[in-house]
């Protein structure tokens, strides 16, 4: 069940200001329409996790952690490991986030980030089988939003990817039907590096990486997750407003270019074709 959300408070003056500037080709913080804000990525933030990354995108802060354990496979994929992605919009991140179970926004965010990793076949899940039908590795990614400054999708997807790409997980062996943890650690090998790019849709303009003010001014976004060769593995429109075909194609073009910039932040030496 889903209900039309409350409007978030933004003054008409600010909203008109954002629109007026957009018509003149400008944004409130002086960025170009297709510029990202300043990004800082810190991996290994949580030592106890098998992998972790803190992403600071403008004033948005997202922390992702990866835990690798063992468990039962899904019945329809008995020889594959299990991947799960959850997201929490922590109440400390915004006065609009209430404590409680994940709401539709948190769940939609998690599922979108999940699709990026899963549909791109970034991880070879067949490598994570211990005993078919009985025991497999569980790769559990948890994204925690710590400060909501806009564009949670891109920050969350980036944090999840950065955490995964630096994950070192313990190797388990099956001994008498039990999964036993060894002292050996293996790095997580990724075959693809899916990157999310999100645009706010303001009348007929596309604003990449919307700040929180821009988000409140429009309420509608289009996000893409793409790979290094520009193939797309996930698309999502969020919000009440609609989009034309020409805007859509323009957004796809920009996201192909811009996602490469983000990918380079994680892998500056350019070995982005995957290691698997």
């Amino acid at each position: 069940m889903s209900t039309t959300p409350q409007r978030s408070i933004i003054s008409k003056i600010l909203q008109e200001d954002i629109k007026k500037l957009a018509n003149e080709g400008e944004r409130v913080d002086g960025r170009a329409f297709d510029d990202y804000r300043k990004i800082k990525i810190t991996t290994g933030f949580v030592e106890k996790a098998e992998g972790s990354a803190l992403v600071e995108l403008g004033s948005t802060r997202v922390l992702a952690g990866v835990k690798v354990e063992t468990g039962f496979p899904f019945p329809d994929t008995p020889d594959e490991g299990v991947l799960s992605v959850t997201a929490e919009l922590l109440p400390l991140a915004s006065e609009t986030f209430e404590p409680g179970p994940p709401n539709e926004n948190a769940i939609a965010l998690a599922r979108f980030v999940d699709r990026g990793i899963r549909e791109s076949k970034s991880i070879d899940m067949k490598q994570f089988c211990l005993e078919p039908g009985k025991r497999v590795y569980m790769i559990m990614i948890d994204v925690c939003v710590l400060d909501h400054g806009g564009d949670l999708i891109d920050a969350s997807a980036l944090a999840a990817l950065a955490a995964l790409s630096t994950t070192k997980y313990p190797v388990y062996n099956m001994v008498d039907g039990q999964a036993v943890k060894t002292a050996e650690l293996k790095p997580m090998l990724l075959r693809e590096y899916p990157i999310a790019t999100t645009f706010a849709i303001l009348d007929d303009k596309l604003l990449l990486d919307p700040s929180i003010q821009e988000e409140r001014a429009t309420g509608t976004f289009i996000s893409f997750i793409s790979l290094e060769d520009e193939r797309i593995c996930a698309v999502q429109k969020n919000g009440l407003v609609t989009i034309t075909e020409s805007m859509l194609f323009e957004a796809i073009r920009i996201s192909g270019e811009k996602s490469k910039e983000l990918r380079r932040l994680l892998f500056p030496r350019g070995d982005v074709g995957g290691q698997g």
């Binding site: 409007r7 408070i9 933004i10 003054s11 008409k12 003056i13 600010l14 909203q15 200001d17």
Partner: protein, 235 residues
Amino acid sequence: MSKFVEDRQIVVPGEVLAEGEYRLGENVYRNGNRILSTMVGLTRIDGDKLSVIALHGFYMPMNDDIVIGIIDDVGLTHWMVDINAPYPGILRASETFGRGFDPTRHDLLDELKIGDVVIAKVFSFDRTQDPVLTLKENGLGKIKDGVVVSLTPSKIPRLIGKKGSMLNIIQQKTGCQIIVGQNGRVLARCGDKTMEDLAIKIIKVIEREAHTSGLTNRVSRLLESEIEQREVGKR
């Protein structure tokens, strides 16, 4: 009577300022014989009166305060206004419709909609009821242009300056009209965008450095040099 702190010293909640029969100013409380700070802030010693000027606080409405509010809810007989305080402001329909207000004929949305920005005055507030606002004075009412900047409410006095000195300097040098809301919102109405950006920048500088001395001179010099730079840029 003994003092443990100097004037303009940074103190934290629970820090003992003095012992004895001092008068209590703001943000201090008495515990037995001792007077303690309730906030992180700068001490102010005024003879035998002890206060702490909070460095980072929120706005509590007081009667006669000028505030800048955003309409965030509309009912049959009043609007609810976000005044950046723990309590919402109440604006009664009679404020814009006058005595002849009739809920069966008049629609509040015709006058003020959600998201509209108003300059209002706090008409009455005691903590048992939400603050009642009024628009019935010169200069009050719906705002149609300009930019609204937010800053920590406790720094507003610094923005105004002694007898308005700081505010005058900013207005003179930028040519902007600046209306200051006690609730930490400031409206800047400027002729051009360059001056508007400059006014916003200066307000942010004042917020960051409110607790330092010599600020008025520094602001004056900064305004001059920034304006000069922008003039040079234009040529």
